[in-house]
Symmetry: C2
Subunit: 158 residues, 2 copies
């Protein structure tokens, strides 16, 4: 935890940004919720618990900054909100997501399953791949077990 903060601090400094208390609080929230896919508002509310004086705009600006530094990835599951996902250190490929259409849960797949596909795309389409986004929409293992109850359909809207 502290080491990761430290590394992010250095990364900021290397571009002459500062790790202000507000930014640190934001980063901490992200670290403590690595598994969730928080929206800016979510982050704001969580940061506010520790540092009530922070403003929403600051959170947005911090998240934007972290996105530029590639500390976080900004993702969008099509529900109209941007979510922010901490990059695994050293991960050169963005991980994949499983979005449950029943309960809305978002699980992550850390393994890179696209190696072969990317080779094909680079060769056949002559496209130099820098990054990818892969999301599956379907029913998660938890909901498959549950006896199907009345469900509000969640559209794979994105």
């Amino acid at each position: 935890m502290e080491q990761r903060i430290d590394r992010i601090k250095k990364q900021l400094h290397s571009q002459s940004y500062k790790l202000t208390p507000q930014r640190e609080a934001t980063v901490r929230v992200l670290l403590e919720h690595e598994k969730d896919h928080l929206s800016a508002e979510d982050v704001y509310l969580l940061v506010k618990e520790k540092a009530p004086e922070i403003g929403l705009a600051t959170v947005y600006r911090t998240l934007e900054l972290l996105n530029e530094l590639e500390v976080v990835d900004k993702i969008n599951f099509g529900d109209g909100v941007s979510r922010y996902d901490l990059r695994k250190e050293g991960a050169e490929h963005f991980h994949h997501h499983l979005v449950c259409m029943e309960c809305g849960a978002v699980d992550e797949i850390q393994e890179d399953l696209l190696g072969d596909v990317e080779k094909i795309v680079e060769k056949e389409w002559n496209f130099k791949i820098k990054d990818h986004r892969l999301t599956f929409h379907g029913i998660c293992h938890r909901c498959q077990e549950k006896p199907a109850k009345k469900k509000e359909k969640v559209n794979p809207t994105q």
Copy 2:
């Protein structure tokens, strides 16, 4: 063209919706711009050329309806706008996209490259896949040929 309109008409009727002139004009615009990835506003402006009295809200409502009927797919490349992509008839899998970070062009891959990957995900993660979204961000073949000139970086922001 006329056949496709006709089929969409039947699909609407089967759910007791009507293919009103406004809806038809909207569908025609989509058919005429199948390769583009139009935003609601884009569609609105194009429809307006033929049917100037149409309202933006109607276009939104029509696109929403077409999305529910799975005539179009609503997609989001992370630039804050929803785009609408006509489904290929009979295509059960959503096609993939190549987004160029240099010129912003969006190309499509119709082939389904994810068959094997989906098998793995269904088995290993016990996730019942209904749909997927796969987008590659990188440099398109056109920009690779161009002598690299001053480029505005387009973030894989989504």
